[in-house]
Symmetry: C2
Subunit: 376 residues, 2 copies
């Protein structure tokens, strides 16, 4: 943190002394990639915070029909962003050195020439990490954006980064449309103390009346997912040295096997879950966090022949179709479940845009529970 704070301070100083400075409300800040991170843990020094003037009057007059201007109020910290800062540029949201990061943000509309979006509307979106920006019709075609007005207030706007945003729609889409739970079935969820894992566990238990088994690291997180997210069983994967160990641990709590597996981590979890899968079983592949920091990913071994008579299915997905309302009724359903008290929100807030790199690192070191958000 020392390095970053130092950098931010010097960056702001040069801006504050610039002759262009007119009004602090017109500052736009960005989080920019300083160098690619191909392997290992991303460090605060890999990023820098940049401040620039935002000429709102000019932006308004230049605004195309169908476009609008937004003010970003909070930034998300998500595992998928790890893949966007590699030099291979393979991820669809990959960034180059010197460019602002891409990720999920929430904010409000400050000016609009779009009939669907009016000034004051609250939104969630996948956008560059720039606090004031113009959203053109071209950008709208390419990005996910969803209206939070009516579902959140200024106070809980950050829900749009969690339960009413990407993680919420990931849990919702993966569970309702990919796994399609039946009452009484058993679901295994890895990274169960994470935002997505916790939401899947709560939805599976509260809405679909399934037996829920969560995997997480260490007894404290195990207690957390049982007490806060209501999981029936917690498995401490740190006690498993091999696929076989994990299979045995699963068998102890699910002697007849599992019907569904919500995959967030990969590695031995994938293989153990596949081996424990019952006839008719489904695996939703949502994340593979154990491999995100590896240059050359480890392959998983399995026997697809076992899927034939069992009618088993493995399916990868990302949340976008549910998030933007193309499939299912995510915002309506999850808002309703929230109001009914069936889902609880657990957030860790970092205050200040300069804290983002530290918050991002916390994802991989695992020192925080629930959804991590960064308010601007």
């Amino acid at each position: 943190m020392k390095r970053l704070t130092g950098f931010t301070a010097s960056c702001c100083r040069s801006f504050l002394t610039s002759p262009l400075r007119r009004d602090l409300s017109l500052t736009s800040q960005s989080i920019v990639l300083k160098e690619f991170v191909d392997s290992g843990l991303p460090e605060p020094d890999h990023f820098k915070i940049q401040a620039e003037l935002f000429d709102e009057e000019k932006a308004k007059s230049d605004l195309q029909d169908g476009g609008f201007i937004v003010e970003v109020k909070a930034l998300s910290v998500d595992p998928f962003q790890r893949a966007t800062i590699r030099s291979d540029g393979k991820h669809k949201s990959a960034v180059k050195v010197g460019e602002p990061l891409n990720g999920f943000v929430v904010g409000n509309i400050t000016h609009s020439k779009n009939s669907h979006w009016k000034v004051g509307d609250l939104f969630g979106a996948g956008l560059p990490f720039v606090t004031r920006q113009i959203v053109t019709p071209e950008i709208l075609k390419k990005t996910a954006i969803w209206k939070l007005t009516g579902h959140v207030t200024d106070e809980n706007l950050t829900y749009g980064l969690g339960i009413l945003g990407m993680p919420g729609s990931t849990a919702y889409g993966g569970l309702t449309d990919i796994l399609r739970p039946k009452k009484g079935e058993t679901i295994f969820i890895s990274s169960a103390s994470g935002t997505v894992g916790g939401l899947v566990g709560m939805m599976a238990k509260q809405i679909f009346e399934c037996k829920t088994i969560g995997s997480c690291g260490g007894p404290a997180k195990g207690e957390f997912i049982k007490n806060v997210y209501g999981f029936d069983h917690a498995i401490d994967y740190k006690q498993a040295k091999s696929v076989d160990d994990l299979v045995i641990m699963l068998k102890e709590v699910a002697p007849k096997g599992i019907d569904m597996y919500f995959e967030n981590v990969g590695g031995i979890h994938f293989e153990a879950a596949f081996q424990s899968l019952r006839p008719g079983g489904r695996i939703a592949v949502c994340g593979f966090i154990s491999e995100y920091n590896n240059d050359i990913p480890n392959l998983s071994s399995f026997n697809p022949m076992n899927m034939i008579y069992t009618h088993q299915r493995i399916e990868g997905f990302v949340c976008i179709p549910w998030l933007i309302g193309k499939r299912g009724t995510f915002l309506a359903d999850v808002s309703k479940w929230l109001k009914e008290g069936k889902l609880v929100v657990h957030e860790t807030k970092f205050n200040g845009i300069e804290k983002w790199p530290q918050a991002f690192q916390a994802l991989f070191t695992g020192n925080y529970k629930g959804k991590i958000v960064v308010t601007v």
Copy 2:
């Protein structure tokens, strides 16, 4: 064949000289497992043909309400039967030594106490390989049986073992419901000169207007699938020494990758197909014939992480839901496509029940093309 013919002859002789002999039409013949085959090629000597009297009058008077008596006219020869003759007894149609084999048959109803089935009705079913037998209501609950009356005549009754039976519904269900082709997509099909593979190729090309690539062994089969089944491209997998080789061969005919893979063989085919799969790609796992003769199956390696952003899917299935009309409209659709000339039937017939072991072996040695059937 010498051994088997010898055995059959001696078996029939003892029966023919028995004092119980009254009428040859009341003979019931069975194909019985003589010894388990855990690895290697099944040999004619692993089976025996048994002849017994069938007391039809007694069978009629004993018949329960809801049951009927059938005469089996032809027997199928299918890869899945390889797994039913192992000592592990794991396959749901597994048999013990001394018991008749299980498999698909066609025939007609000779007597009925079931309102849905009348005398003379033609049927296909999964039943023991016994030429005259009683089908009780209990058996009906457990087995797949479908009405061929109206779709075939006595002359082409064996279609009920192929295009209007298990292989046809496998191709139909796997293609229409598991792979769900879109016009213009590219499909890769292994074991393309086999019955299922050939049907998938024809349906994909003629009905769904897809580009079809078939894999089979040797240039003669390659010409066959192009000329008879209308495949756009044939890949000779015998020229591929590794997964990489097969990936390169696929790239030559599908530079942008494949959208669908219909898996019949496993091994390097699975891995090469997965590596060649485009975003949105689907793999239907139908068979794994390369592993059927192995005691300990080889595992497949893949990276499930690649399925996430691509929304890819791997799904195993067996034909039963489509065959018995629980999903889709198989018999109606395929009969229609047959009448329209969109599908052609290619059959190899072995005449005489005693030829079944030889016909079964031919499946694995690959010396015949099209659907192999054995008439009684």
